[in-house]
């Protein structure tokens, strides 16, 4: 590399990957990946969310997974934890729903009522 600018470019390219490990996140999306969730398409929902994070460049958001939440008819379910806000649970989140929730709730902070399952702890 010839100069500092090139160095910074490499840094910015790889940094996103490293941010997964630094543990500083504002928003955490938990996808329920129980057997029922997977059967209902939770993996696709999860992949959609991960792609969206990359596309919209929101590195302060992470996706993690959890086991079955127990409301199988509501699967795929996701829980949304935003710093200083009440946790929100959405049900029946297919790929389309995931996009909508991402657009409205994660980017703009508006709860998407039609998928809302519960609020608070």
């Amino acid at each position: 590399m010839k100069n500092l600018e090139e160095l910074k470019k490499i840094r910015d390219r790889v940094r996103k990957d490293l941010e997964l490990r630094t543990g500083k996140h504002r928003i955490k999306i938990v996808v329920c990946l129980g057997t029922c969730g997977i059967a209902a398409g939770a993996r696709e929902t999860m992949n959609t969310l991960i792609d969206l994070i990359a596309k919209k460049d929101t590195p302060d958001t992470i996706v993690t997974t959890a086991g079955c939440a127990g409301f199988c008819q509501q699967e795929p379910m996701i829980q949304l934890y935003i710093e200083d806000k009440e946790p929100v649970v959405y049900g029946k989140v297919d790929q389309k729903a995931a996009e909508e929730i991402f657009e409205k709730h994660i980017l703009k902070g508006e709860i998407v009522e039609k998928y809302l399952f519960s609020k608070g702890k």
Binding site: M1, K2, N3, L4, L7, L20, L33, G34, T65
Partner: protein, 1017 residues
């Protein structure tokens, strides 16, 4: 391109690799591919995460779930459960030592929580083999910053402002070093990195080189820019092949990316780095020797000045810093000197990396703010000492350092505070030593080390250390003389003053530190031929006997019991201890903690075998040793507790005529009046005291010395010597209102005395016992047997309770509540004719002299509880009343008798003392041991002494034993306890084994004494 959703970080530090991290990586990658997750999940190998004891380690991000001791066969489950289904694999979680509580998240483990990572900021996070990962973590940005925005002088100023001091040992300010070198005239200058980490017990440099090599290289370049050097050398030990390998890869990658070489980042700065391998010479850690070694010469140190800053490598001005020092530099440049300086103490800024090793639960690598108390490092981060052993000392600073004893746990770990205690920060090896470490042997070990590593150039270091080593070896073999200690100190002084380099100048430090804090142990080796840790082979008969305060020949009576020869077994026991049936019930059996069988499965149940052996024989008379010829001299023993009676017994063996005076109606002291009969039935005590009477010990009860008869009167009656063993029968009461004269408040001893004396006590329904010792537990379990609800309140935590663990457990089994971290504050009588007791919650603060955390009240946390009887058992002290005139003996501040020797001599030549009245409340077997030694002192006073006393001779064991044969393979037999629901009376809780169980258990003994006999030592 795929977007990764998870990273599986696998620690690839040296320790984890040797714990098979390689296979874990392989199977993990396969399992991920099999699950089709290779595009979602990445496996990243990182440098050392620090928790070496727990390896191989996996941390899964973004959640930060921490899995420990992962085996290749576990990886499938991690992938299937965690990565695929989002269910964490609990069985691989970290478990807290002692509580066994499971911890899921990386950041919730105390080991990590209390750390602050600067030098290790990337270790365990990035893959050291990928330069891009380092760059992503702002790598080489600091270099970019200094090359484009700062002048060399500004860089030096920034480092100076940060207060960074050399992390290799002496703590010289790094900025100043750079300044001096920059100011030195000369065209060619060098930057050297000292990675010849030789201090045993320190491995932080290795971990940094293996886990984050680029950070060191970047720092060397920054230094090169600041001082005007274009060449760097990293001098690394040949014993660190992995570090050399990763460093070489890092240098290659940096060259490929044009971060090393000419015109770095488009500026006119050039820099190159070369690795030089050491070749196994400890002295090369010394800077002048190291530079000679790089020059290709013998690594002998040379005198300073000139300092390396003026004339270093190849006679050119040179900066030499160690690995950890360099690893801090990029952080300082990027985050500013102020950020760095805000961590640590006034004089020692920043953090320090420590290697935790030795007898500690969490071994590994940690980085903490300088100035953290040692106790916090050992207990909160290190998780304390394994196997319920006691901390003895912490060795810090390697062979140039010293050891800090357990009573200084509150010391702040910084350069100055450690120096005050005779230790040094050194490179940061913290080796924790438990009670099984012999401090004389450790001194010998360090001297041997120095002896071998001395380069031989200076005579004091070469010859002086050899003489010191010889002396220490002699002491360890029991052939030392008291004068040796002065010689060691004198030699230490001389070697320190006259050696050329740091190695010699600091060589005596470990010896001086142990002489300062553990002089007692040296003296025991020399005077008593005893190694209390059981390490020095020549002085140890067997670990169990060595540990026994009465030095009972444990392998002896176990061997005869195994054969069914109970009479012979008892004979062996009685020679050293006339209370086998009592000790078979109440002895805390320290011997079992030292039993070598612990390493195999679990200790021999020595106490229970002893109990069976003693119970199997009714009359001891035929088993007592033959009395020596009567010498007609009369000795008076005051107090008929275990110490008094034993002393009378030992003197009787030696031919004296002994009378024991007891103020109470019955003999036995605490055995009769304190220990409850569910633990020690009175007929057992009676049996052993009667045996002593028959043997010839005269006992006069209801006779109080000082009231019924005085010492002077006894002297006139012809008593030539006195052994005072009146125990510690006075209870210590807390200084709070409402206790005095309140008939619903009593001391633990008082309560037990009344019960044992069959006096009637009203206890009511709610009893609270304050205290955590055996008296508290005895009182509580006794009260429980009277049908009351009993609560024990103790001001510290369970770990600090002095009572025996088994007793605490049984108390809880019997339904006694234990409230920890609480204390009483005040006591009032209320209208219901009960007590209104005010309690307060406590918390543990800093460490005190006892090596425990001091309990302090939590303000405004008090509460009131109604109690029918309050029993206080917080401590005991001797009650000497009007025993004798004040001029006869000197007392210590705590009321115990001050003895001029360990044999119980007092300031009056005919008065000796032993047992609780000297030690404060202690155990039966300790009291017996003291009685032995006092008997020797009395004999010496009256008859000039004998060469060897019967109890110091270990008789040959004539039981066939084949050391080649495999030991019997069954587990330790269990004790038989009365079911809890039947424990409503004072019936004994534990049952004596049957013959088969006892003989089989005795056969588990490994006969550790055996080898020695064969060799004839």
């Amino acid at each position: 391109m795929y977007n990764l959703r998870a990273h599986v970080l696998l620690c690839y530090g040296g320790a984890c690799i040797s714990s098979n991290a390689g296979s874990v990586k392989e199977t993990m990658e396969k399992a991920i591919a099999k699950a089709g997750l290779q595009n979602e999940v990445d496996v990243v190998t990182t440098g050392c995460m620090g928790t070496c004891e727990l390896g191989p380690i996996i941390v899964i991000y973004p959640e930060g779930v921490f899995y420990q001791k992962v085996k290749p066969e576990d990886t499938e489950e991690i992938v299937q459960e965690h990565l695929l289904k989002g269910r964490v694999v609990k069985r691989l979680f970290y478990k807290k030592p002692k509580t066994e509580e499971m911890v899921e998240m990386f950041n919730n483990i105390d080991f990590f929580k209390l750390q602050r990572k600067i030098a290790l900021r990337n270790c365990g996070i990035i893959n050291p083999l990928e330069i891009e990962e380092y760059i992503a973590a702002d790598g080489y940005m600091a270099l970019g910053k200094v090359l484009t925005e700062m002048t060399p002088q500004q860089v030096i100023e920034e480092i100076k402002k940060s207060g960074l001091r050399g992390r290799g040992g002496a703590g010289f300010p790094t900025g100043l070093k750079w300044q001096f070198t920059a100011a030195s005239p000369g065209k060619q200058k060098y930057v050297c990195c000292n990675a010849d980490e030789g201090d045993p017990g320190a491995f932080m440099d290795r971990s940094i080189l293996e886990g984050d090599p680029h950070s060191v290289m970047e720092a060397m370049m920054i230094c090169g820019y600041a001082i005007g050097a274009d060449q760097g050398y990293i001098y690394v030990r040949a014993e660190y092949p992995l570090a050399v390998e990763r460093l070489s890869i890092a240098i290659e990658q940096a060259k490929k990316n044009e971060l090393l070489g000419k015109n770095i980042l488009g500026t006119d700065f050039n820099f190159d780095i070369e690795i030089r391998m050491g070749a196994g010479a400890f002295v090369c850690g010394e800077e002048t020797a190291l530079m000679r070694s790089i020059e290709g010469k013998r690594g002998e140190p040379r005198p300073k000045p000139p300092y390396p800053a003026q004339k270093g490598l190849f006679e050119c001005p040179t900066v030499l810093n160690n690995v950890e020092t360099f690893a801090n530099i990029p952080f300082i440049i990027l985050n500013g000197a102020g950020d760095f300086a805000s961590v640590g103490t006034e004089k020692s800024r920043g953090t320090k990396v420590f290697a935790l090793a030795g007898d500690i639960n969490n071994t590994g690598l940690i980085e903490v703010p300088i100035g953290m108390p040692l106790g916090t490092i050992i207990y909160d981060i290190g998780g304390g000492i394994p196997n319920n052993k006691k901390l003895k000392a912490v060795q810090i600073g390697g062979p140039s350092g010293g050891c800090i004893p357990a009573d200084h746990l509150n010391v702040k770990v910084d350069y100055e505070s450690l120096q005050e205690l005779g230790a040094i920060m050194g490179s940061g090896g913290l080796i924790v030593m438990d009670e099984d470490t012999c401090m004389v042997d450790i001194s010998r070990y360090f001297m041997e080390f120095i002896q071998e590593e001395s380069c031989g150039k200076c005579t004091p270091c070469r010859e002086g250390t050899r003489i010191m080593l010889n002396i220490l070896e002699r002491i360890c073999q029991g052939k030392g003389k008291m004068e040796d200690l002065d010689t060691l100190e004198e030699l230490s002084r001389q070697i320190k003053q006259t050696s050329l380099c740091g190695l010699g100048q600091t060589a005596p430090n470990p010896i001086l530190a142990t002489l300062r804090y553990f002089r007692d142990e040296y003296i025991e080796h020399i005077r008593d031929k005893k190694c209390r840790a059981g390490v020095c082979a020549e002085l140890v008969y067997s670990p169990c006997s060595n540990e026994c305060p009465a030095s009972v020949n444990v392998p002896g009576y176990l061997a005869y019991t195994k054969e069914g020869n109970f009479q012979k077994a008892l004979e062996i026991h009685l020679k050293n201890n006339p209370f086998p049936a009592v000790c078979g019930r109440v002895c805390p059996h320290q011997c079992e903690a030292k039993c070598r069988r612990n390493d195999l499965d679990s200790a021999v149940s020595i106490r229970s075998v002893k109990r069976f052996m003693a119970d199997s024989i009714d009359g001891y008379l035929k088993c007592f040793p033959e009395k020596q010829n009567s010498n007609g001299m009369k000795v008076a023993v005051i107090g008929s507790g275990p110490s008094g009676l034993s002393n009378a017994y030992f003197l009787t063996i030696l031919g004296y005529e002994v009378t024991v005076f007891e103020s109470e109606a019955k003999a036995g002291g605490m055995l009769t009046y304190a220990i409850p009969s569910y633990r020690l039935p009175k007929n057992i005590v009676k049996k052993e005291i009667q045996a002593l009477s028959l043997y010839g010990v005269k006992i006069k009860t209801n006779t109080k010395i000082g009231k019924d008869i005085t010492i002077d009167e006894l002297r006139k009656q012809g008593f030539k010597a006195f052994y005072v063993a009146v125990g510690a029968g006075d209870s210590i009461m807390p200084p709070i209102e409402g206790i005095d004269g309140n008939n619903r408040v009593m001391s633990g001893l008082d309560f037990l005395y009344k019960i044992n004396n069959n006096e009637k006590i009203f206890v009511g329904q709610e009893i609270v016992v304050i205290g955590g010792g055996n008296t508290a537990i005895d009182a509580a379990r006794t009260a429980r047997r009277m049908g009351a609800d009993v609560t024990i309140v103790y001001r510290r935590t369970r770990e600090e309770m002095p009572a025996e663990i088994e007793e605490i457990k049984e108390a809880e089994n019997e339904g006694i509540k234990i409230q920890l971290l609480q204390n009483i504050k005040s006591v009032k009588s209320n209208s219901n004719n009960k007590l209104a007791v005010e309690f307060v919650n406590m918390r543990l603060a800093e460490f005190d002299k006892s090596g425990r955390r001091r309990p302090v009240e939590i303000e405004t946390s008090s509460f009131v509880k109604e109690v029918s009887l309050l029993i206080l058992a917080i401590g005991q002290k001797p009650s000497l009343d009007d025993l004798f005139d004040k001029e006869l003996v000197k007392l210590n501040r705590d009321g115990t008798i001050c003895c001029s020797s360990h044999k119980g001599e007092t300031m009056s030549e005919d008065i000796f003392a032993g047992g609780d009245v000297v030690t404060g409340p202690s155990t039966v077997v300790e009291a017996i041991g003291q009685a032995q030694r006092a008997a020797e002192a009395i004999d010496k006073y009256l008859s000039g002494g004998q060469e060897e006393y019967p109890w110091n001779i270990m008789d040959a064991i004539e039981v066939k034993f084949d050391p080649e044969e495999e030991p019997v393979d069954y587990e330790r037999a269990k004790n038989i306890l009365l079911p809890v629901e039947k424990r409503d009376s004072y019936m004994e809780v534990e049952k004596t084994w049957d013959r088969v169980t006892a003989c089989k258990e005795a056969d588990r003994c490994l006969r550790c004494e055996f080898k020695k006999e064969e060799e004839g030592i």
